[in-house]
Symmetry: C2
């Protein structure tokens, strides 16, 4: 080797390696990857010796207690599932709730002698189970220090020992493997891994120590046990209902819910905390960012999936997601809320779907929705970007909030509908309803956002030619007009607006809005004087396809004559408040004598709106105008939801468990035009799995009948629900109540 070779010389840098870079491993970053899949399991050795092998190898341990059989007592009619309110789950496994005792029977090779035999039941969840993480839990027949689960022997008879186990009320929720381990001086002998001993542990609203404890049996029956729900929609003064089969007990649903957490790679150790679970789920229920459950689509084109209005329940959606591992098409807000509700009830977290009428959206926690008009009071659609949703659905779930100061437990808002402008935040909540009501929006998670959805002001701006704007009218009562949910144990609606806000105009309301402003919410400060002319739009009940008259009433409250240059505009709108097409535009000049009313009649012809209807058939009328004498601006808005034709469902048969019955769906196309590519879906909890049928063509004026046989699986009152959906007509529904005797 020459001297030169010992002198380092720079070289051209080597070419970059080709091919895909290797997957970056966890090495160096952490001692072991965090377990984040309930579906992954670990193998626990059948023999675990404490000693070194002797010259003949390990001793066989045969002289010690051996396990012949383990009975999980998991039949729906056995005490475990009845006591734990889990008999309705269609599942081959034991399902119990935490913080509450359940029993298993162990048959040993000989009678159990408490003084000399030592055994434990071991509960294991996920890969890399650890005692300190709560993912490996040995339970002994006698009280031990450092274990939070309790065990006791409730019966011994010959070789059979009945052992009762009480899982900790804060233990991890999910699917566990169970082992029986006999401890000998030389080592441990275990049962082999055996899937029949797998079991699920769920949240327990019946037990005071559980974070989801709900001290009201009627509410628990509704918010955990009820499968058939009602979701409200339509508009504030014309409420409509949608039936929904949450199906939380259907075969495969529980596994699908656990899969959602696995797919989110949620650490197993966090799965005992309902706050963390609902937060993860609020992100995972929508497909944004994370390939979650449902793809949102508000476009009206659902060619590549199922129209949001066409779903009848959550079962199809969750089972499809679990089997395809791909987001399911398509959802709008009530579909997100309904499937989220299934997830929550299935895991045992009390929950309900609520509907907020006139929901401010996409305004990122600010308390203003801006509507821009020109100097004459005509709405400038190009510059009006904010929208107020006719309604918006979200979920409430019930839990304590140890992460917050006292007083903010109870109902919490979670929302899985992706929000467009909320800082890339395609998750929302849990936000304490109490915190929202009291304007304490500084507490996690996303309380400010929900606060704005129910408390925003609608600000009408007049835009001058030079581009500046002036607020001319502020409506402080339009948004968050009404919050509804289904009454527990009943099919009526329940107004829960007062849980979200104090009475309009009360001192408390003002204080709360000021508090929210302290936390950075921006409100419109100006209060332009009210005009002395009022304009009122009527309530109307109109069926799709009807011609009708719209009476716009102007009321002059002043002592002088008033002349209004008015703009009467009618548009087809999405339920998001976004206008699709304007089908009516009138510009009357209305002269009203002092202290008098004057009616302006607009004729609405169905041919003007029919071809432009979008799925929820909402017509949005806006009247604006300028009073000549005073320059004041007047405004009025009204959403009219057109009545769709109905599906007629008739059910016949004896109405007994396990006896076949017949459901008949009838539909008549009320229009003169044909309906193409028609899907009908039908299902009923405890009676019928989701079914669907396709009709290529339903000719104008013609009828169709679909007859379906089904066999009820359990007694009680339930409903069969159906929807009809095609590109030209959406949101057609029907339902029939059925009572089944045992």
């Amino acid at each position: 080797m020459s001297d030169e070779a010992t002198i380092a010389a720079p070289s051209p840098a080597p070419p970059a390696p080709t091919g895909p870079p290797p997957k970056v491993t966890n090495r160096g970053r952490a001692a072991a990857p965090a377990a984040s899949a309930n579906s992954e399991t670990s193998d626990i050795p059948e023999y675990e010796y404490f000693i070194q092998p002797g010259p003949r190898g390990y001793p066989p341990l045969t002289e010690y207690l051996d396990i012949s059989e383990v009975d999980m007592m998991k039949r729906p009619d056995e005490s475990n599932k009845i006591a734990h309110h889990t008999a309705l789950y269609h599942s081959d496994y034991l399902i119990v709730r935490r913080g509450q005792e359940f029993q298993v029977k162990i048959t040993f090779s000989r009678p159990y002698k408490p003084a000399e035999d030592k055994f434990a039941l071991e509960f294991v969840i996920g890969s890399s189970p650890q005692f300190s993480k709560g993912t490996y839990v040995p339970v002994f027949p006698t009280k031990q220090r450092q274990t939070t689960w309790e065990g006791r022997i409730t019966n011994t008879s010959d070789n059979v020992v009945t052992m009762a186990i009480t899982p900790a009320a804060n233990c991890i929720v999910g699917k566990y493997q169970m082992y029986v381990a006999v401890v000998t001086p030389y080592g441990i002998r275990r049962t082999r891994k055996e899937s029949t001993r797998d079991m699920y542990i769920l949240f327990n609203p019946w037990v005071a120590e559980d974070a989801v404890f709900l001290d009201d049996e009627t509410e628990r029956q509704e918010c955990v046990m009820t499968e058939m729900g009602i979701i409200y929609h339509g508009s504030y003064d014309d409420i409509a209902e949608r039936d929904w089969n949450y199906g939380q007990f259907n075969y495969g649903i529980l596994d699908s819910c656990l899969y959602i957490m696995d797919r989110a790679e949620m650490p197993i150790t966090n799965r005992g905390d309902p706050i963390k679970i609902v937060r993860v789920a609020s992100a995972m229920l929508n497909s944004r960012d994370d390939e979650g459950v449902l793809v949102g689509n508000w476009s009206g084109d659902y060619t590549y999936g199922v129209a949001p209005t066409s779903w009848t329940g959550s079962t199809d959606i969750l089972l499809t997601y679990n089997s395809s591992k791909m987001p399911v098409c398509y959802a709008q807000c009530w579909v997100y809320a309904a499937v989220f509700n299934t997830f929550l009830r299935c895991l045992g977290i009390p929950s309900r779907v609520v509907t907020n009428y006139y929901s401010a959206h996409d305004n990122d926690g600010n308390l203003k929705t801006d509507i821009i008009m020109d100097e004459n009071g005509k709405i400038d659609r190009n510059r009006t970007r904010d929208s107020i949703w006719n309604y918006h659905c979200w979920n409430e779930c019930y839990m304590s909030r140890p992460d917050l100061p006292p007083g903010f437990g109870g109902w919490q808002v979670v929302d899985a509908t992706p929000q467009e402008t909320s800082d890339g935040m395609y998750r929302c909540g849990p936000a304490s309803v109490q915190a929202i009501k009291h304007g304490q929006i500084c507490f996690p998670f996303d309380a400010a956002f929900v606060f704005a959805e129910i408390n925003s002001d609608v600000v009408f701006h007049s835009r001058r030619k030079d581009g500046t704007m002036e607020p001319v009218r502020v409506n402080r009562t339009h948004v968050g007009r009404l919050v509804l949910t289904k009454s527990p144990g009943d099919v009526t609606r329940r107004d829960i607006t007062d849980q979200y806000k104090f009475a309009e105009g009360s001192t408390e309301e003002r204080t709360v809005l000021e508090k929210a402003e302290e936390y950075g919410c921006k409100r419109e400060k100006s209060s332009p004087p009210a005009a002395d002319v009022d304009v009122v739009l009527p309530n109307l009940e109109i069926s799709v396809g009807d011609n009708f008259e719209l009476n716009v009433e102007f009321e002059n409250k002043s002592d002088e004559r008033r002349t209004v240059d008015a703009y009467i505009s009618g548009s087809v709108v999405y339920y998001t408040g976004v206008a699709s097409t304007e089908f009516l535009f009138l510009t009357p000049r209305v002269v009203i004598e002092p202290k008098m009313n004057k009616k302006e009649v607009a004729i609405v012809e169905s041919k003007k709106y029919m071809k432009r209807l979008v799925e929820q058939a909402n017509l949005h009328f806006i009247v604006t105008g300028k009073i000549r004498e005073t320059g004041q601006i007047i405004t009025a808005m009204k959403v009219i939801t057109l009545r769709n034709p109905k599906l007629i469902i008739e059910v016949s048969g004896r109405g007994k468990v396990s006896e076949e019955m017949i459901a008949t769906v009838e539909f008549t196309n009320p229009f003169s035009f044909n309906l193409e590519n028609v899907y009908i879906r039908m299902e009923g909890p405890g009676m019928m799995e989701p079914k669907s049928r396709y009709y290529r063509l339903v000719i104008g004026g013609s009828s169709l009948t679909w007859t379906e046989y089904f066999t009820p699986q359990r007694a009680g009152t339930s409903r069969v629900i159906a929807t009809l959906d095609c590109p030209a007509l959406r949101q057609v529904q029907g339902q029939a109540s059925v009572t089944i005797s045992p």
Copy 2:
């Protein structure tokens, strides 16, 4: 058509459409997509008429004021950039800070007549600009209602008008287009879109109305203006320094920072809020979830990128990300913190990198780090999954917190290093340092997580044969031992531990921990009695490749003889505390007379550890053991960071702006083995762009010299820094201070 045809018949469902589904549009969901890219601009028409065209088309508007020229006064030596502290930015555009006046000169076609001419400067950002969203801002020479930016004319001379504009102190931060608009009775005439009039508006820590106002000029100079930083690493009792060139003023860095927000699709309207910006950035700086800036890699294999220890500054990383649009390989915590610091300082948010020694990690806000031992006191490495990082770097940024109750503004923790087990949360902060200190961890964002990083207990568990465990020692002072940052205006370190926690053992400290427990943090309750034998490990300064002796000192504090069955274990560890290889394992029995000390000497040979060293050359010694007489467990831990060889940098030349100088880097391979694939990197703010050189081979014992010419661009004291990196030896550094005269 026959009768049959009018009766609808079910058909087989049509096949699913093939091909990729169309991109789901925004239609129906929102009136317009939210603008979320600063790089997208809109076209504002040159003429905007208020009137209908006449028979000859539109009038030409030529009789009105016309604009001949606009001077943005953007040279670094002009008043705008000097007054706004933006002269250091290498940029062709005007850069100013919000809430502070700047000036532009407009030359009209004739003298401006205030009484009859009307004009405005229009500032526009992003697509779909809107007055009500703050993305379209017209500024008039006189005060207007409803505008938050102010304008005034400061000088008129012939046809030239100098106009001063003060952007609102809460306006959107980013790149704006500017137009001059002349308003006539017939319409508006504007300047054409012209990129020379583009300008940047940044945060302004010098102005009291800005949310990032920092009322200390020394701090501002350090935390906004300083490019050359020091990041602390090593271990608590043996602190090491790393120089870093943040390079926030380098050419292209500001655009790269805006690109990061664009890539996150952060709505433009949120970009005036530093809270939202830093939260988005904490997610975007790492590549998890969102294809962000940096790929984390702790594995030791950096074949497909640059080793984290090899970077000398942020410039290369940010420019590479902006040009490739792909995550850059590789980062560990200080790289995330350093690049985040560049982002923050570049946008004008005061920020600093801090280092927390003994940082609890990946334990999801619980206050326990578990170390598992067998019944004899020997560490069970398979069951010990938690790790304590020798150090962890994060950022603090300074801002008010209007979203929280008063008292929580000021320094806020943000952390871009992805956390493994924190609920899929690859973002962290802003968390108020005040809230952390006072245990008020209920406030957003992620305060509980940071609290655990500095306040966890280390719990040693003894694991019994039946799988249950008992805590045998709790160390409440190990974690969060020291928090350091660079002193402002100096190259010394500053201990800021007391900003995060009250003195160990004080009443306040106890109260704070209790408060944190109220908010759901779980602590170890048991307090096993301290053993009466202490074990102490020495401080040592050892160079890589040295053989050395480790004296383990046992001190018997009791009045009786004590016998300890000890385990002395030495491992090579990552800075994350994760053990790579155990190179030393001794099991002495130590007998100590009453009230006496006894030394046990372990010989550490370099050949045992050299081949196994990982990049930061940390040796971790753990001594555990059981006292025979009492059954008590003793423990001691010590990290020894081996000294690496240094790079010698020498700089020669006259040391004047724009005069060429020479930097020489020298390195001698101190080992008997060869170093292969060696990269050296060098840079210096205001003097030298990042440069690198590759050496295929540096033979054992040989030296290399690299000479580089450079030309300083500005006066002042700065440093040239360099690193050497190869798979066998990492984290070799050198630096030289340079003073440049004008």
